[in-house]
């Protein structure tokens, strides 16, 4: 098993460890170091809903081609969790490398792989790590060994450590010592694992940064003028608010009093209630939650829609229904959020798919919420929100905040008359007056009950019907204002792939794989609901479209079928959710399957209902 040529910059590593052991830090150091070497990286953290002691896996992909979807195969395994080691080993491809602690009881029982037993205890003894910190320092050992095997540069490691342990020199020192000792051991250890996979310096990551979507959203919200935040902790959304809280003093210092009020509410009902109250009183207000919180917010979402109050709600999706899998990723809330609330409700939803979009949507959500006077949902997910992605730095906004139609006391003096919900401009959007506006005409009593144009309680059938018709006009306005889909047309393609959010990397890589298999495709990544005209056009111009999404029921497909009934039977569905981000080969295979089925039966039966 000696290989003539090393595989350079195109491979993946899985580190299988125990959560609460600090392995996540080790993985981040590794990822940062490779990124420092200019090589594109992506990482997927598969962690349990638990604080300490349960299995966790980290998959690090290195790809000079820039592929960042979860890899289907990882030829390097760090088998540092004896509880899962046999299963993990079974996933390793032939000729794969398996690192494991020499001191443990577990040993890999496969002859077609390259085992490498690491004397962890010995290395830690060498460095003199105290007993208490050993479980932690153990993880830095595999970082050092991998650094040696892959040829990760010393400067890159140092920079990575500095970024990771910002301003804590003693931490850097300890970790560096462990890494160096492990590196030294590995360098001296004769093993076929050497030289098989290598990281070579590139310049593909220059000017880029590593960030997670929750942090991007937090910075976006602070840039977008958020003034009130109310939230209730829930994985995977908590870190969005916690990032916001930690960036607040730096980005929006409280020189003359706080510029943003953050309140941890007693539950999600209260969280959205506070946001609705704040939006009503004129602040840009937001909350972040996940599935169970969304369900609890249903009644207030309906109030916001019907009383026409701006609000921004981030749903960082996890696997549902119910409590589901709190630490796994999914795209399963699309339908329930779109229709959130009894009666005839339908909401505006933004669907970011990159770090840059998490940042920009966080701002735009406020603009849209205030322009449309309605709750705006942003559907992110655990993969986007909590995993680390490469990103271009975010641009400082060049447009002023769009604060929508608000009448001042002076405006009212000029106008002499005021009706909150009069559709003066024909776009379905009335003019607000903010509480505190002293003009005698300004005050109304906002309400979730039926009302006439002047916001006065009314049970009159016409008032109700007209109001609902106006709300539909507003929905049409929203259709024009939300971000356009990201479309890539391949002129030779008769097949279109449609998706949204975090599946973009898998879909885009799958398109290359499909092309290699002779299937040309165009692609459309939906950026928002309600859909615009481009969506219908894209579908109309392709013979078949396949909607790829990470849920069971094909929720985006359902909404697209409703939007384009004439093309309903030409919309295929690849809907899959098991908590893991999709891989490109899986998408390729499923798309091919789906196309075959569609060609066989020109008459498709619905599965959506």
């Amino acid at each position: 098993m000696q290989f003539p040529q090393p595989i350079v910059n195109e491979f993946a590593i899985t580190a299988a460890t125990v959560n609460g052991s600090g392995s996540q830090t080790a993985n981040m150091v590794l990822m940062r170091a490779i990124f420092q070497m200019g090589v594109p990286v992506s990482g997927k953290n598969l962690f349990p809903s638990n604080i300490q002691g349960e299995p966790t896996w980290y998959t690090l992909r290195v790809s000079q081609a820039g592929y960042i979807a979860r890899p289907a195969v990882t030829p390097i395994l760090v088998a540092f969790n004896p509880r899962t080691a046999n299963d993990d080993l079974a996933q390793l491809p032939t000729d794969g490398i398996c690192l494991y602690p020499a001191d443990g009881l577990w040993q890999p029982q496969r002859s077609d792989i390259i085992p490498l037993a690491i004397p962890v205890r010995h290395i830690l003894d060498q460095v003199g790590v105290n007993q208490r910190l050993r479980p932690y320092a153990t993880n830095m050992v595999y970082v050092g060994v991998l650094a040696a095997l892959l040829g990760i540069e010393e400067t890159a490691l140092l920079t990575a450590l500095q970024q990771q342990f910002r301003g804590r020199p003693s931490a850097i020192e300890l970790n560096l010592a462990v890494i160096r000792a492990a590196q030294a051991w590995a360098a001296a250890e004769p093993s076929p694992a050497h030289g098989k996979y290598r990281v070579h310096r590139m310049h593909a990551t220059r000017g880029m940064m590593l960030i997670d979507g929750n942090t991007a959203a937090a910075i976006g919200a602070l840039t977008g003028g958020v003034g009130v935040v109310a939230w209730y902790p829930i994985t995977p959304s908590s870190s969005l608010i916690e990032a916001l809280e930690s960036y607040l003093p730096r980005l929006r210092p409280a020189t003359d009093g706080a510029t943003c009020a953050i309140v941890q509410a007693e539950d999600e009902i209260a969280a959205l209630g506070i946001v609705i109250g704040a939006g009503w009183a004129g602040a840009r207000a937001m909350t972040a939650t996940s599935g169970p919180g969304i369900s609890l917010m249903t009644e207030f979402a309906g109030l916001g829609f019907f009383a026409e109050i701006p609000a921004v709600i981030w749903d960082v999706q996890r696997v549902g229904p119910s409590t589901g899998l709190p630490t796994r990723t999914a795209q399963g809330d699309l339908l329930s959020v779109y229709y959130l609330g009894h009666g005839d409700t339908r909401h505006v939803i933004l669907l970011p798919g990159t770090m840059e979009e998490c940042f920009s949507d966080a701002q735009m959500a406020f603009d849209l919420a205030e322009q449309l006077q309605t709750p705006v949902f942003v559907l992110s997910d655990l993969d986007l929100g909590m995993n680390i992605w490469m990103s271009h730095p975010f641009p400082y906004p060049e447009q002023p905040l769009q604060r929508g139609k608000v009448l001042s006391a002076e405006d009212l003096t000029r106008l002499k008359t005021y009706a909150r919900f009069a559709d003066v401009d024909g776009d379905g959007i009335g003019y607000r007056t903010l509480p505190g506006n002293p003009h005698p005409l300004a005050a109304t009593l906002s309400r979730g009950t039926g009302h006439n144009e002047r916001n006065v309680y009314s049970e009159h059938p016409d008032d109700w019907q007209r109001n609902m018709a106006r709300l539909w006009r507003k929905h049409e306005t929203a259709r024009r204002l939300v971000p356009r889909p990201v479309i890539e047309i391949n002129p030779q393609a008769t097949i279109g792939l449609i998706g949204f959010g975090s599946t973009a990397p898998a879909i885009s890589e799958a398109r290359d794989l499909l092309a290699a298999a002779g299937v040309q495709t165009s692609s459309m990544r939906i950026r928002a609901l309600p859909f615009g005209a481009e969506v219908t056009e894209f579908i109309a111009r392709h013979q078949y479209c396949v909607v790829v999404e990470q849920n069971h029921d094909g929720q985006l497909r359902q909404l697209l079928q409703l939007h384009c009934p004439a093309h309903a039977t030409r919309l295929g569905s690849v809907a899959w959710c098991d908590g893991l981000p999709l891989t490109a080969p899986f998408v390729r295979d499923q798309v091919l399957n789906c196309l075959e089925q569609m060609r066989e039966s020109s008459l498709l039966v619905g599965t959506g209902t």
Partner: protein, 341 residues
């Protein structure tokens, strides 16, 4: 006086005509809200009317028509009020709620609002029933109480005042809707208080709190088997009025219903002792009395806006340059993320 200090008349503090039943205690309270706001010369636009859902909450439409307001969701007004306060802490929320709204569905939000000390004047229009849904028991109904349509209540009542004290509320009072003067004075005092102020006002529901047997009532004089027992007919009642002195006890006959015993706190009662206040409520509970007056007072807690360090300008009025990072601060964060520092 027909004009107050800011030149407004009482009419300027009125709202839409009430649609509540004639004689409903909530209307009596609305009148005193109007009177108090007028006498305090509150600029209408500095008050926001907040309410949930119920007859009591509907009544937010019947006073302070020139104040902005939000008739929100059943039991969830505290959250909406908290948000409004955070967005604009220069506005004073005046909240009206019912016992169902506050003590049944809304109990959690009520207590958490008080813990945060949102400086609201929070009036519970307490009739022990759900008026708007036609007379079911609320969580403040007396144990053993019997209502014609709802049967017997088997569960101990929630004491809104005791809950408020436990939650850290610094102004806790109780009154009776028919005691115009006390209601008005308490509302005025509450507006002067710096923090959350709760006033639990017994406010008879003339339509549904019409039982004639109850652990703490004498049987209503006349037995009258008549079309009156037709649920679709709501006879007209007069609002009840009482006027009594500090230290006095007054039995009040509710319409077609029970007698309640009110005990007005003595002038020398010291409301600043938290344990004593709780004990007082416990005692009143065991003797089936309602003590009225200011039960507990403690002005030492900061309001939520103060706790969070909000400055003079309300967040809703912050200019764009304070709502956005400076170019420099933004650039610094980007540089750090890029690993440039």
């Amino acid at each position: 006086m027909t004009h107050n200090a800011i030149g407004l008349t009482k009419a300027d503090y009125r709202g839409a005509p009430s649609t509540l039943c004639a004689g409903c205690g909530h209307d009596s309270i609305a009148s005193q809200i109007i009177a108090a706001a007028f006498e305090l010369s509150l600029p209408p636009h500095t008050v926001i009317r907040m309410s949930g859902i119920g007859c009591s909450s509907k009544s937010a439409a019947y006073f302070l028509g020139r104040s902005h307001g939000f008739n929100s969701l059943h039991g969830r007004m505290p959250a909406v009020t908290t948000g409004a306060h955070l967005a604009n802490h220069t506005l004073r929320p005046l909240a009206v709620s019912g016992d169902g709204d506050t003590a049944s569905i809304g109990l959690g939000q009520f207590i958490h609002l008080l813990r945060r000390n949102v400086p609201v004047v929070y009036i519970v229009e307490n009739n022990g029933v759900y008026g708007l849904t036609k007379g079911q028991f609320s969580a403040t109904a007396d144990e053993g109480q019997e209502l014609k349509h709802a049967g017997v209540n088997h569960f101990p009542p929630i004491d809104v005042c005791a809950e408020a004290i436990l939650a850290g509320c610094g102004f806790v009072a109780r009154s009776f809707a028919g005691d115009a003067k006390q209601v008005r004075e308490l509302i005025k005092a509450a507006f002067h208080f710096h923090g959350a102020a709760v006033i639990d006002i017994i406010s008879p529901c003339v339509t549904f709190n019409n039982h004639d047997r109850s652990t703490k009532s004498y049987t209503y004089g006349k037995t009258h088997e008549s079309p009156l027992h037709d649920i679709s007919f709501v006879p007209h009642y007069e609002e009840i009025a009482v006027d009594y002195e500090p230290g006095e006890v007054r039995d009040v006959q509710l319409h077609d219903g029970p007698v309640i015993r009110l005990r007005k706190l003595n002038r020398d009662y010291d409301p600043t002792d938290r344990s004593a206040a709780l004990l007082l409520l416990e005692q009143a509970r065991s003797t089936n009395e309602f003590v009225t007056g200011l039960i507990y007072l403690n002005e030492h807690r900061p309001t939520l806006a103060e706790t969070l360090g909000i400055g003079n300008t309300p967040i809703a009025a912050l200019s764009e340059n304070r709502l956005r990072p400076s170019r420099e601060a933004f650039a610094a964060v980007m540089a750090e993320l890029l690993g440039e520092r």
